[in-house]
């Protein structure tokens, strides 16, 4: 669902690019804390009288925690996995294909803010190296596939999880539902952008986009749940099991 250059007019491109920049900047700020830990700083002391030892901290300092270093490599791994998975187009009915967007998948593995950074990096590489999705439309693509899938998808997952938490497969059902919904909402956003640019009348492009993406969403949901379950079985730390996304 990468929008190429020329589909959007300048106004929509600029507005969506600034929205995407704001969101990525916000995500950077939010994600930053998850890498750092606060540690006391002790000053080297020579013998004093009375002896005081090193027990009293002189101040506090943030540094990258062990967990943060591991998380950095997990982010790189998840990012490359999502890039590779996006290359695998699966056929749906009527000579059409769809591919994974991965926003919900990344958000449920690493938390919404880290996921937004990952998806933005994937889209950046696709636009710059492969010409998949336009340069001017990059902001719109980050909004559609990144922002909707990660922050929106994670919020939707939390809502569904709280509703379904008494059922046995509530967690996986909510992951499934969030993934499906993220594709449909992304398609709706894309058609709104196309209509605002005057490329196509809203109702026509909206109904056509939804028709295809409701089916593509099923593929996205299945891939998301299969990968999440495979990771959970092998003890990969997943944000979806924790109430606190900031820890992941």
């Amino acid at each position: 669902m990468h929008i190429p250059d020329g589909f959007l007019n300048h106004g929509v491109s600029v507005v969506s690019a600034s929205a995407a920049l704001t969101a990525v900047g916000f995500a950077l700020r939010q994600a930053r804390q998850g890498f750092l830990e606060k540690a006391p700083v002790f000053k080297a002391r020579f013998a004093t009288f009375p002896p005081s030892g090193n027990a009293d901290a002189q101040g506090w300092q943030y540094h990258v925690s062990k967990w943060g270093q591991q998380k950095m490599w997990r982010m790189a791994g998840v990012g490359s996995l999502i890039f590779a998975a996006q290359m695998v187009n699966f056929p749906i009915a009527g000579g059409t294909s769809g591919h994974l967007l991965g926003g919900v998948l990344a958000a449920l593995i690493l938390g919404p803010y880290e996921a937004l950074l990952i998806i933005s990096a994937v889209l950046l590489v696709q636009a710059l190296a492969f010409g998949d999705g336009g340069i001017m439309a990059l902001g719109a693509n980050v909004v559609n596939m990144g922002l909707v899938g990660t922050l929106g998808g994670y919020g939707c997952f939390i809502l569904l999880r709280n509703i379904l938490k008494r059922y046995k497969f509530g967690l996986w059902t909510s992951a499934w539902g969030a993934a499906w919904l993220s594709v449909v909402v992304a398609a709706a956003c894309a058609s709104a952008e196309l209509a605002l640019s005057g490329t196509a009348p809203f109702m026509r492009v909206f109904s056509a986009m939804l028709e295809y993406h409701m089916v593509i969403g099923l593929g996205e949901a299945v891939i998301t749940v299969v990968i999440l379950r495979a990771l959970a079985r092998r003890n990969f730390p997943l944000a979806m099991f924790s109430g606190k996304h900031s820890k992941f």
């Binding site: 669902m1 990468h2 190429p4 250059d5 020329g6 930053r32 890498f35 750092l36 700083v41 002189q58 300092q61 540094h63 990258v64 943060g68 270093q69 591991q70 950095m72 997990r74 982010m75 790189a76 791994g77 998840v78 990012g79 490359s80 996995l81 890039f83 590779a84 290359m87 695998v88 699966f90 056929p91 000579g95 059409t96 294909s97 769809g98 591919h99 990096a121 994937v122 590489v125 636009a127 710059l128 190296a129 492969f130 010409g131 998949d132 336009g134 340069i135 894309a190 490329t199 196509a200 492009v205 056509a208 986009m209 295809y212 993406h213 593509i216 990771l231 092998r234 003890n235 990969f236």
Partner: protein, 99 residues
């Protein structure tokens, strides 16, 4: 079973990008199909075509090999971008004793 790490996901990504992606469907995706049906596909302009256009590695005649190489190159690129950004943003240093 041994606990999975980020590196395992990266290796899996290399396999998917280099091999599984060869079996991807070549049909237009949802947006392309809609654009085709509603006659605005021709509005697209590619003023920047990218280094590896249409996921084919440049200067390799064999289509499958080119696609496979492009998948591996893209996977490496994403990993490098994310790891590089992480390193730049959160300079990996051991905690210092002094301030």
């Amino acid at each position: 079973m041994k606990r999975l790490q980020g590196i395992h996901l990266f290796l899996g990504a290399l396999i998917i990008g280099g091999f599984v992606s060869l079996f991807a469907s070549a049909s237009p995706d949802g947006l392309e199909k809609v654009a085709e049906e509603q006659n605005f596909l021709s509005q697209g302009i590619a003023f920047y075509k990218g280094v590896m256009q249409d996921y084919a590695f440049p200067r390799i005649a064999d289509g499958r090999l080119a696609a496979s190489f492009a998948g591996i190159a893209g996977t490496l690129l994403v990993c490098a971008v994310l790891a590089g950004a992480g390193r730049a943003l959160f300079r990996l240093k051991s905690p210092r004793e002094d301030q």
